[in-house]
Amino acid sequence: MKTKTIKVSDFSQTPKGRFYPKDGLYTGDKFRKDYLEKDFDEYDKIIVDLDDLYGCPSSFREEAFGGLARIYPIKDVLKKLEFICTDEPPLIDEIHSDILEARK
């Protein structure tokens, strides 16, 4: 199984907003395009590490992960992405909700 780990903090410790550059420099759509979409077809499993951030605003989260579920089938996104977040464990459930509600 081909696995890749992505640390969101390598992208930015202060992610914020949906759309680049309107909402900021480190936005959800930029992270999705530069990290998630790039590797989505190539890897069987993508582990997203959400530790070491200042926070993870809903705007960033929804556009990055919910946005991915608007491009790929929701079940594929849920199957392929795995999350680590020891700093704020409830964040993982919130991201799952973002993915499940992405097309509503």
Partner: protein
């Protein structure tokens, strides 16, 4: 030729008037500048107004009177040349009213309103300290001169300055969290610090994306914090349309002629904070930002949080609303991050 003659006469006459004024310029009588406007070649007399601040100058503790002051302030800012803000009778004050004054001043500068504003400071020393803390003297002529502990102040930041300096707003959120971490001795991964970052980010985004119409109005948010004995007081606000007006507009656009909704401001506010309200797009995946702000405001380590928007002052921790008859143009959030008490 006739025109030239007239011009020459006018020049000679103006010179005479000028010399006359040179002799009398800066003449003061008991602190009031003398103004002579009898001559037809003088510019029209300055329109002046003296506006006293309320005895208790605070949105939090004296909403109606303080909003009434700002209603007058905005009127006179646009209609006189010289505006004296007389704070001498003010006995108590909270800092958000000063920050709001600063924001209105920035708007007047942005709109090229040629008004000169002078401040007569309060008599109480603690109020003068408050004024110095707010950074007031950078913006207004006043006699505030006091030495402060700058280490305790997160000086006022604003979105329009960030834009001018190409600074990412997220950087300002980080600076505010770093300030709080240092003062409260907490780590970045502390749940309260993470909530602070996300709430600030969502406040800024909400201002940029929803608070203003596309009509060239100065889009801006302001952030300020100050440490005191029991914690850190944070103030965030914008001069936009306000939460309930934005939400009401979207609800009306979505439901007109189909549903009868309760469009009273407190009902709208509750729905927005609980995430029940969805944007005009109707998408469930949107508008999660304000509920995330609310999570900070009702946190156990936060106290005295309020939201003032349009005609309501809301206390999230008690779910209490105070109504006003005067509209507050914008949204103001105030909250205190509590210091942990040492058990000695």
């Amino acid at each position: 030729m006739k025109q030239l003659k007239n011009k020459s006469f006018k020049d000679r006459h103006s010179k005479k008037v000028f010399n006359h004024h040179q002799k009398r310029k800066d003449k003061h009588y008991l602190g009031h500048t003398f103004t002579d406007s009898a001559n037809p070649f003088d510019s029209p007399p300055l329109k002046k107004h003296r506006l006293p601040t309320p005895k208790e100058f605070s949105f939090i503790y004296n909403l109606e009177e303080s909003l009434d002051f700002f209603k007058d302030f905005i009127y006179y800012m646009n209609n006189v040349d010289l505006l004296f803000i007389d704070m001498r009778k003010t006995e108590s004050m909270t800092i958000e009213v000063l920050l709001y004054l600063i924001s209105l001043h920035k708007i007047s500068v942005n709109n090229n309103i040629k008004v000169s504003i002078e401040i007569k400071t309060p008599n109480e020393k603690n109020l003068i300290i408050l004024m110095a803390q707010s950074g007031f003297s950078k913006y207004f002529k006043s006699n505030v001169s006091i030495t402060l502990n700058h280490d305790a102040i997160f000086t006022i930041r604003d979105g329009s300055t960030n834009r001018k300096q190409n600074k990412d707003d997220a950087e300002t959120c980080k600076e505010a969290v770093d300030f709080a971490m240092k003062k409260l001795n907490k780590e970045k991964k502390d749940p309260l610090m993470r909530k602070l970052f996300t709430a600030l980010a969502e406040m800024m985004l909400n201002t940029d994306n929803h608070a203003y119409d596309e009509d060239g109005e100065l889009r801006n948010w302001y952030l300020f914090a100050v440490e005191n004995t029991d914690g850190i007081d944070f103030y965030f606000f914008d001069n936009g349309k306000g939460i309930t007006k934005t939400a009401k507009k979207s609800l009306l656009e979505k439901t007109v002629g189909t549903l009868k909704l309760s469009l009273a401001q407190p009902s709208i506010m509750k729905a927005v904070l609980n995430g029940e309200y969805r944007s005009a797009t109707g998408l469930r995946n949107r508008n999660k930002g304000i509920p995330q702000i609310n999570e900070l405001l009702i946190h156990n380590n936060v106290k005295s949080s309020i939201i003032l928007t349009n005609k309501i002052l809301f206390t999230p921790q008690e779910m209490k609303f105070e109504k006003s008859s005067i509209n507050f143009k914008g949204t103001l959030y105030v909250w205190k991050l509590k210091k942990e008490q040492n058990e000695n």
